[in-house]
């Protein structure tokens, strides 16, 4: 069965620290990969996505993610976090034959950034 694992439930960082959130997926075929973010009290928003090509994908607000096919991983990174990055982050996948919104999500990682 397809699944997505996010390694950290809750990450606490100070401002300006570097961030890396882990994501691994299990699926027998080719997938598209996504990171979504949910700021407190707001709706889920797309942060970035990978379909093909350069495995290093840049998203909004200085976030990037690297797809490593051999490790079935799609880790999210940011060199220097800000207090406003406090949110919950969800990794998601879908099979390429499925619609972009037909997603399997991980359990999410809550990021708290201390000012």
């Amino acid at each position: 069965a397809q699944s997505v694992s996010q390694h950290n439930h809750h990450v606490i960082l100070s401002e300006a620290a570097s961030l890396e959130l882990g994501c691994n997926y299990s699926y027998g075929g080719t997938v598209n990969l996504f990171w979504y973010v949910q700021y407190p009290g707001q709706h889920l928003q797309l942060l970035l996505k990978y379909f093909s090509g350069d495995p290093l994908v840049k998203g909004i607000k200085g976030f990037e993610a690297e797809f490593i096919k051999s490790k079935f991983s799609f880790n999210l990174r940011k060199p220097s976090v800000q207090w406003s990055d406090t949110a919950e982050y969800f990794c998601a996948v879908n099979a390429i034959r499925r619609s972009q919104g037909n997603l399997i999500f991980g359990k999410g990682t809550k990021l708290s950034v201390k000012p």
């Binding site: 997505v4 707001q42 709706h43 889920l44 928003q45 797309l46 996505k49 969800f90 998601a92 499925r98 619609s99 972009q100 919104g101 037909n102 997603l103 399997i104 999500f105 991980g106 359990k107 999410g108």
Partner: protein, 113 residues
């Protein structure tokens, strides 16, 4: 551009009661999704519509859950009868078509007591 609208924002019902949630997608969006997000977990797809037709309802518990999108615009999701384990946030999302990004609403938080 207005986002995906959902109502109500919160609902508390007793077990065995019925409940309905409403979703108004972004104007012009043909594809509509309903997700269930239980506390501590990621969203799980319940059903996907393309216009007024069902594309994927493989994870919808059809003995108690139903959804419709009669005119290909608004959609309702119903639970009848509700169980305690149905307590969750129900998210609606829409996209212009199947090959484009999905935009999520703020969800309806259901508590079954």
């Amino acid at each position: 551009e207005a986002g995906v609208a959902q109502s109500p924002r919160y609902k508390i019902i007793e077990k065995r009661q019925s409940v309905a949630f409403w979703c108004n997608p972004i104007s012009g969006h043909a594809t509509l999704y309903w997700y269930q997000q239980i506390l501590g977990q990621g969203p799980k797809l319940l059903i996907q519509f393309q216009n007024n037709g069902v594309v994927d309802d493989s994870q919808l518990p059809k003995d108690r859950f139903s959804a419709e999108r009669l005119k290909g615009v608004d959609s309702t999701l119903k639970i009848q009868p509700a169980k305690l384990e149905d307590s969750a946030v129900y998210l609606c999302a829409s996209s212009r078509n199947e090959d484009t990004e999905a935009f999520f609403g703020q969800g309806t938080r259901l508590t079954v007591v």
